[in-house]
Symmetry: C2
Subunit: 635 residues, 2 copies
């Protein structure tokens, strides 16, 4: 068996040829970070071969520069029949997730909910034509000849040339005897030319799908000639410095110049991600000819510099829901300034284009009688229920608890976050694990759900979320009327402070879960249905990814239903945005969905408060709603 | 009779009450400049009342600031029954014509060729609507409500809102309970909103008509609610520093950055004129919602930043002839950035939109069998011949001689230019008069024609343009093989140098007139006509204004035809531009004309050189073409 030596730790292991390097490292106790568990999606298990030979297919997953420098992914690399020396690079603490080559490439394209047979028909088309030379006799101008050549192919339609393209026509037509590549957008009965190049360039044709979340912005670079996702990059929305949630951003925008400040913040985030994405591929930003953007209604207002104030107050009227076509130059996206920017249509002030994009990844609006529920859990929860006959949407404000906000030791699902907890029924001691298997720094949403469910199942908290004052535990501390639970003592934590959760934190979490559950429940009631009538529950959003469904049912965040009915569909907004960019069918379907959805304003519904109050318990005041949980508790 | 005292000269005169001040000054030998001869158009006879009372109606002719400061036009002011003291301001030498409130207001509107009954239908419309308040129930966004309110009036058409307008919607709709004023452009089946204001503002609605000449730029501010011309301002095209004519500008533009320099030059000229025009009227530039621009093909290319190089070389192909609609922001015109800029369509590289605009002021394309000729004489001569059945256009390069270019003592028709000359048949001495009745500084186009005709009629030059070497005159000097004629000796001239014309100058002038005459002649020949078949000859362009028709026939610049057939129509391009701005009928007619005209490329026509050579004599080698002149010469 070949010997593998890991540097700098000098740990060694004998493994069979064909063993994955990641497995070899594990067996040899050489630490390699692998948050995705070796699926080839997180790109964190980077190693370098110092001596020996390997079989690797990291190509396309790592930036070319990294591969050129000899780096590989341990999870995609196999040991051969010869001794090996492997260097594990020192880990740099990743705090922000800046320019992470996102985990989701494979996930997004291979994902079961992404349609199998997308008919490629991207927003912009690129093709090659030959324009006849100018003739004295015909008196045609350059633009006339170009127009006629295009019309010969597409029929007698209006051809629109922006001024910046017109400025290039004279020279471009004269370089290679009229051989040029046109990039254009076709809609209704007109064609708008957005690119004009000398010669044949149809092989390089790019677009971007952009998802603007209140917290995270994702940019996906797409090869429009094949519909291949080249890369997905994510970063925090720079607007975070101006408020964590939609409402605080709206408040922030009320003072003069701040609307422009917010606009610049999100543009900076987007443009940096685009810059990074194209740099990795040696493409120029100007080569990107179209962008589709999805985001909630407030995010889109801020992106366009539209005053969001009126979204906040009754009658909650936004400036716009459907967004006209703009150029990238108008919006401020730094790609080809003439590139078309299409923005996913919103349904209401609190059900935005991220939802109409996300729904494209589900069967909810397809030709079926089955009723499905779509659930995007975030600071704002957005819910859609429907089938081929009806679509009903509403939004609720869950608050930032599931993203770690408003929780003393809460944090986002980043390195060092506790993502799972088991609680010892006897001692109350927590056994936890963190993202990246490093010392804990805080607790993220999935950790919080896991913790609460376990504390409840082991009776360390009651249905009202109060810590048990009758049983003794080293891990429960009292301060006056309040108590807190110690998840990790100071000596285990990377911050030197204990990681705790207080009863006030628990109240916040219960309010968040109650908001979502009661909204679902009320919306179903409106159409005379209940949870048992649902065929599927699609869960979207970054938060849903690490959620333990059983635990989420225990705390009453999700309804008590067979687990196979829950389908996690990831960043559905980004996936849907991608579909809109590459497929005309999905562009049409999205507009159809936006048109069909009935928006229900929960905050003015008198029975919402009743539903909400009923849900302010673990799992619910009405325990019969959670029969399988009851069975479990009885056991 | 009241006594009038003129200051600072202290000249006095007794005149009858009711006498015009200008007349009083003439009688009293007090010099007041009045190039227009008291028609109230040149605005040069400015005076100020120091003591006493007058009847004056200078209002609307002088800037408000001048009237507030007590200035009046002497030609529009009458003496009353009391003694008067009048100050004649010291004349400042006017060299550039900077920001002259142009003479042509009255001229342009009262002019006999301006259509009598224009149906007012300006490019942009402004009207008042009331948008219903937002409702929780209907789920409509601001833009939805605004769109529906507009569509209720104009029908179910596409309504387009630019981003800058969308940004204003939320606040604007909420100030006066939804009462707003819309400014919009209606075309085909869509309406583009370019202005949105709170409240009722339909009374202020402005547009600009812009004529870009190679030498002079004219800007006319129009009240679109009445179609009234508020003011006309002219200035030299700032591009003059980069070359006097079209060809030198094209050459100048060949080096990097210079195209942008030329673009900035003309924009500066236009924007300064607009700024001055609105300042005089206390209007904001952003209140101007549409602009129509006419200019020759090269001027439009330079305005739009389009490479003009290919216009110059065979097959003389411009980037464009018909110009798409752009916004003022795109073009760089500093008015409402969303304002529509419509550019008059061109016919060929050397027959531009100034001609399709100018033709609107003639009967040439109207429903008549009569064949008419349109002649725009400038550095480039543009000619159109036609009737309801055909329209043929061509261009010829006359060179700058008629604008004083390439002539040693030549100058433009400005103060101090000799504009008319009589030559004594016995002595050869010239009797001349100048614009402004000041000491001569040079000779302008009309002076040159007058001089040449008189020298020819008095036999001081022969048909080839050579000065008579057989008769003695103090005013003819020889230098080697060449001779020159002294129009004004050094002591009479304001420059201290004699004002002369040499045989080389005369050759230049003959070449210029031959180019125009032969082009007219060849074009008529192409359609089987000759000059006698013409019903009217319309002469356009600044140069034509001061031309002495009889003299122009003597030198063979114009054909020998009854004088009443010649119609001077002034700055027809500017007038036509105005018509396009205010009338839909004229917008359609202009495009119809542009479509109908057949462009004839003279420079490649083999018989042009023959025609041209025949015209290189005074008046022509074929004297039978000038029968009335022959009769005059025989007398």
């Amino acid at each position: 068996m070949p010997l593998v030596v890991f540097k700098p730790s000098q740990k060694t292991i004998d493994v069979l040829p064909g063993t994955e390097l990641l497995e070899a490292a594990r067996k040899g106790n050489a630490e390699i970070d692998s948050p995705c568990g070796g699926k080839g999606t997180c790109c964190k298990c980077i190693v370098r071969v110092i001596a020996g030979e390997v079989d690797s297919d990291s190509l396309g997953l790592l930036p070319k520069s990294a591969i050129d420098a000899g780096y590989l992914l341990a999870c995609r690399t196999k040991v051969k029949d010869t001794p090996l020396t492997i260097e594990i690079p020192e880990r740099e603490e990743i705090t922000g997730g800046k320019f992470v080559e996102a985990a989701d490439d494979a996930f997004l394209v291979h994902q079961e909910f992404l349609p199998k047979d997308i008919k490629l028909n991207p927003l912009t088309k690129k093709w090659h034509i030959t324009v006849p030379e100018p003739q004295l006799e015909d008196g045609l101008s350059d633009i006339d000849r170009l127009t006629r050549t295009i019309q010969k192919e597409i029929g007698d339609q209006e051809i629109i040339f922006p001024l910046s393209i017109i400025r290039k026509i004279a020279d471009t037509l004269r370089v290679e005897n009229g051989k040029v590549t046109i990039t254009a957008i076709h809609e209704k009965d007109r064609l708008t030319v957005v690119g004009l190049e000398t010669g044949l360039h149809t092989a390089t044709h790019h677009g971007v799908a952009i998802d603007i979340g209140t917290t995270t912005v994702a940019v996906q670079l797409i090869d429009l000639s094949t519909s291949r996702i080249i890369s997905t990059l994510t970063d925090y929305n720079n607007q975070l410095t101006c408020g964590l949630d939609v409402i605080s951003r709206i408040n922030y925008a009320r003072k003069p110049d701040r609307l422009e400040e917010l606009r610049n913040h999100v543009l900076k985030t987007i443009n940096n991600l685009i810059k990074q994405a194209v740099k990795n591929q040696s493409i120029k930003p100007e080569g990107i000819s179209s962008a589709v953007i999805s985001g909630n209604t407030t995010m889109i207002h801020l992106l366009l510099g539209l005053k969001p104030e009126y979204i906040r107050f009754e009658p909650y009227t936004p400036t716009l829901l459907a967004v006209p076509y703009f150029t990238a130059g108008h919006v401020g996206i730094e790609i080809n300034p003439e590139a078309r920017v299409q923005i996913s249509p919103a349904v209401g002030s609190y059900v935005g284009g991220d939802i109409t994009a996300g729904l494209l990844c589900t069967d909810i609006a397809n030709d079926s009688e089955e009723v499905n529920l779509f659930l995007d859990i975030g600071t704002n929860g957005e819910l859609v229920v429907g089938n081929r006959d009806f679509l009903l949407a509403c939004a609720c404000s869950a608050g930032p608890a599931f993203e770690g906000g408003g929780i003393k030791c809460g944090m986002r699902a980043a390195f060092g976050a506790i993502e799972g907890v088991e609680v010892n029924g006897e001692t109350g001691k927590a056994c936890y694990w963190t993202i990246g298997n490093v010392k804990p720094k805080g607790i993220c949403g999935s950790g919080i759900i896991s913790l609460l469910a376990n504390l409840f199942l082991t009776s360390w908290i009651d249905a009202a979320g109060k810590l048990n004052r009758e049983r003794n535990s080293l891990y429960i501390q009292f301060e006056g009327r309040h108590a807190k639970y110690i998840i990790a003592p100071a000596e285990e934590s990377s911050t030197g402070e204990p990681i705790t959760i207080s009863e006030i934190d628990i109240e916040n979490i219960i309010r968040a879960k109650a908001a979502i559950y009661s909204a679902c429940s009320l919306m179903l009631k409106q159409v005379g249905l209940n949870f048992n009538d649902l065929a599927n529950i699609y869960i979207a959003g970054g938060f849903g990814r690490f959620i333990d469904l059983e635990k989420a049912i225990v705390i009453g965040l999700l309804p008590d239903m067979p687990l196979e009915k829950f389908k996690y569909i990831g960043n559905a907004s980004l996936m849907g945005t991608y579909l809109v960019l590459v497929s005309k069918e999905y562009r049409q379907r999205q507009h159809e969905i936006a048109r069909r959805i009935t928006y229900m304003e929960l905050s003015t519904d008198p029975s919402y408060m009743e539903q909400y109050t009923g849900a302010l318990f673990l799992p619910h005041t009405d325990v019969f709603r959670f029969p399988s949980l009851q069975a479990k508790l009885k056991k």
